[in-house]
């Protein structure tokens, strides 16, 4: 068994407005000269450390966990999982 670090990223679906991302872009980035920025979406990240036989198993465990425990609400969110080195 080895230790793996996973990043579980939860963000709103594109069709749900993200006022936090909009405010960060409009009132911070663009107002302070970063007008090349055209989109910001905010989200939540869970950094998970877990034991698994290999990377594939670590990812499978994470997916089972997020689906079983509704770590994201599929109605409103999309979820991505990355195993990080």
């Amino acid at each position: 068994m080895a230790k793996f670090n996973a990043e579980v990223i939860i963000e709103g679906k594109k069709n749900a407005r993200d006022p936090e991302g909009e405010t960060i872009m409009r009132d911070l980035m663009i107002k302070h000269g970063y007008d090349m920025v055209s989109s910001v979406r905010s989200g939540k990240i869970l950094k998970v450390t877990l034991e698994a036989k290999n990377e594939k198993e670590a990812e499978d465990i994470c997916w089972n966990m997020v689906n079983e425990l509704r770590i994201y609400n599929p109605v409103a969110h999309i979820c991505t999982i990355k195993i990080v080195k």
């Binding site: 709103g12 679906k13 069709n15 749900a16 407005r17 006022p19 936090e20 405010t23 939540k44 425990l69 509704r70 770590i71 609400n73 109605v75 409103a76 969110h77």
Partner: protein, 238 residues
């Protein structure tokens, strides 16, 4: 025989005693406030189950999600599916959504702020257990107090919700119209409360218990009482 109801108290419930007061002192019901770990085996002996407002488990991850995974909710789900009346107010509504008893999601207010203020609710259907003494189109003044109350559902889900007459209340302006100003949190289609297909599970973000006596309202109204009177009527009719 007075109504006999249970209020399930979770770690982080904060509106449980207000709800007990409204149902016990205002409505004259028999009300038991029971800690969630002890509630599971008693649920069936009541006429209805109430999930109160608050911030269960600190709203961590998402409001209502951790409470939705407590063992008592397994029993609530089982009973709700058999037609048992289950009501969720504010965080209780969030718990019902997160436990899959009601469709959709309640996400952060579009104002990015916690919002505590009076709203106008337009009754959209009288078939739910919480609106059957009202008339369609009635406007109730009921306050909100939440940070994650923006109801969201995808297009297909919304179509079903509307077609099945499951939208129970919408936020409206003083004159009863759907406007951006009348919608305090950016809820899709101004939805404030919904019910399941059968009408026995009802979730509402605003707090009827805080509007159940005229002394509580700047207008001298007690529209929140209609919510509880509807339940009484629903139960008596059988």
């Amino acid at each position: 025989m007075p109504m006999r109801v249970i209020v399930v108290q979770f770690s982080g419930s904060t509106c449980d005693r207000d709800l007990v007061y409204a149902m016990k002192d205002v409505m004259g019901w028999e009300v038991d406030l029971i800690w969630y770990k002890n509630a599971q085996k008693h649920l069936e002996s009541y006429d209805a189950i109430f999930l109160p407002g608050g911030f269960t488990y600190g709203d961590h991850l998402r409001a209502g999600i951790i409470a939705a995974y407590t063992p008592v909710m397994d029993k609530v789900k089982e009973l709700a599916k058999e037609g048992f009346p289950v009501f969720g107010i504010c965080n209780g509504f969030q718990i019902l959504v997160e436990s899959g008893l009601l469709p959709g999601a309640l996400i952060g207010n579009d104002t990015l702020r916690f919002s505590c203020k009076w709203t106008n609710l337009r009754v959209e259907t009288t078939r739910s257990a919480a609106t059957n003494v009202a008339k369609k189109g009635d406007i109730w003044k009921v306050p909100i107090a939440h940070g994650e109350g923006r109801y969201f559902l995808d297009e297909k889900g919304l179509k079903e919700l509307n077609e099945n007459d499951q939208v129970v209340w919408r936020y409206v302006s003083d004159d009863g119209k759907i406007t951006a100003k009348g919608n305090p949190n950016g809820s899709i289609e101004s939805i404030a409360g919904i019910c399941n297909l059968e009408g026995n599970v009802v979730g509402l973000m605003p707090h009827p218990e805080r509007a159940s006596e005229s002394i509580l309202s700047p207008w001298g109204s007690d529209h929140g009482k209609l919510y509880f009177q509807s339940l009484e009527n629903y139960f008596r009719r059988g």
